[in-house]
């Protein structure tokens, strides 16, 4: 082989090795794949003021210190909400069995504060899982929080009586212990997938910190 060809070959080999190394390094920084998506960078959200199921303040501080799974819906929802809350409860059970539950909390935010009072919500969420919390608030406060999470909802025109349905984005949002939006689990959510996705997120976080 001629000298120039050897040099070319060596250069190519070095480039290839460098490329592979780069690929390995960047792959470990890629967000893990989950049944939904992980934000490349966790997103800080602006303060909001809701009330929890005990009528006490539920704000940004309430999301700090724990990983929070947040689902938006309403109690008069016959299908999507009971289905998703049942799956979220299943996820909590799985995480508890895996010893990953102590730093987590689960919050159902009702977009229907007209019908869903804190007291009603307290009974509603406890039914799905005794660990579940709930929150709601006036339209302005609610809209502000929901919008930042990427949740839209709307009431039918001229809603009256007690049986109207509310269209709503049916995601489960995951906030990290710094109250930053970290990931979203998209419908149809399954308990096993939420638990598995959360484990991947925890694992990738510890790798990044190391």
């Amino acid at each position: 082989m001629s000298r120039s060809k050897k040099i070319a070959l060596l250069a190519a080999a070095v480039a290839a090795a460098g490329g592979i190394l780069f690929g390995i390094l960047s792959r470990s920084d890629e967000p893990p794949s989950i049944a939904g998506f992980v934000y490349p960078e966790p997103r800080a959200i602006a303060p909001f003021a809701l009330v929890n199921q005990d009528g006490k303040a539920f704000d940004l501080g309430a999301l700090k210190g724990k990983w929070s799974f947040v689902y938006f819906g309403y109690s008069y929802c016959p299908d999507a909400c009971p289905t998703t809350l049942a799956e979220l409860s299943r996820a909590q059970n799985l995480l508890q069995s895996a010893g990953l539950d102590s730093g987590t909390q689960y919050i159902f935010v009702s977009v229907d504060s007209k019908r869903d009072t804190p007291r009603r919500l307290a009974q509603y969420v406890a039914f799905f899982n005794p660990k579940f919390l709930a929150a709601t608030g006036g339209d302005d406060a609610l809209a502000g929080f929901a919008r930042q999470v990427g949740v839209a909802y709307s009431f039918p025109e001229g809603k009256k009586g007690k049986t109207y349905a509310v269209d709503h984005t049916s995601i489960v949002a995951l906030f990290d212990p710094d109250a930053r939006l970290h990931a979203v689990f998209t419908p149809p959510q399954k308990g096993e997938e939420i638990a598995e996705g959360f484990r991947k997120i925890l694992r990738s976080g510890s790798r990044r910190a190391g």
Partner: protein, 157 residues
């Protein structure tokens, strides 16, 4: 027991005696199930599978003595938003038509009493050709599983 409670109990008892898979003119409604209702909630849901071995038909409406009204609905995610829409009718041809979570479902409005895990109640589906087909709906656990298979320890009451 008040007369109303007695009547409601009777409805559930009758429900338990109806065969789980009912059929008429080739239409078979099977695997009907529901969820327990949380305290204070008077809307419920019913899911099932319709199989049609006969000529094409259409599901027109539903009814149940456990609720004031039973409506046909479908949940669907459009542009990321979960919407629930009423269905005027549902075509039932050769392929099984599933009413299942996050999809088509019967919404029970104005439940006369909460649905509890283990309850069985009657549901009538009325078809354009086959007419009314009655089935019995089993109320599963809150996690959608049948009694005895729940993940969390369940306390019988």
């Amino acid at each position: 027991m008040t007369q109303r409670n007695l009547w409601i109990s009777l409805v559930f008892a009758i429900g338990a005696s109806i065969p789980a898979a009912a059929s008429a003119q080739g239409i078979q409604v099977a695997d009907a199930w529901s969820r327990p209702t949380p305290p204070g909630v008077d809307v419920g849901v019913a899911y099932f599978v319709i199989r049609n071995a006969g000529k094409s038909d259409r599901l027109l409406r539903a009814s149940s003595p456990v609720a004031k009204r039973a409506e046909l609905h479908v949940s669907a995610v459009k542009d990321g938003i979960m919407k629930m829409e009423g269905l005027g009718s549902v075509d039932v041809g050769g392929t099984p038509v599933a009413f299942e979570p996050s999809g088509r479902h019967v919404m029970l409005v104005g439940l006369k009493r909460p649905l509890k895990e283990g309850d069985v109640f009657p549901l009538t589906l009325t078809f354009a050709n086959a007419g009314p087909v009655q089935t019995s709906v089993r109320v599963r656990g809150a996690d959608g599983l049948d009694k005895g298979h729940t993940m969390s320890p369940s306390m019988k009451h």
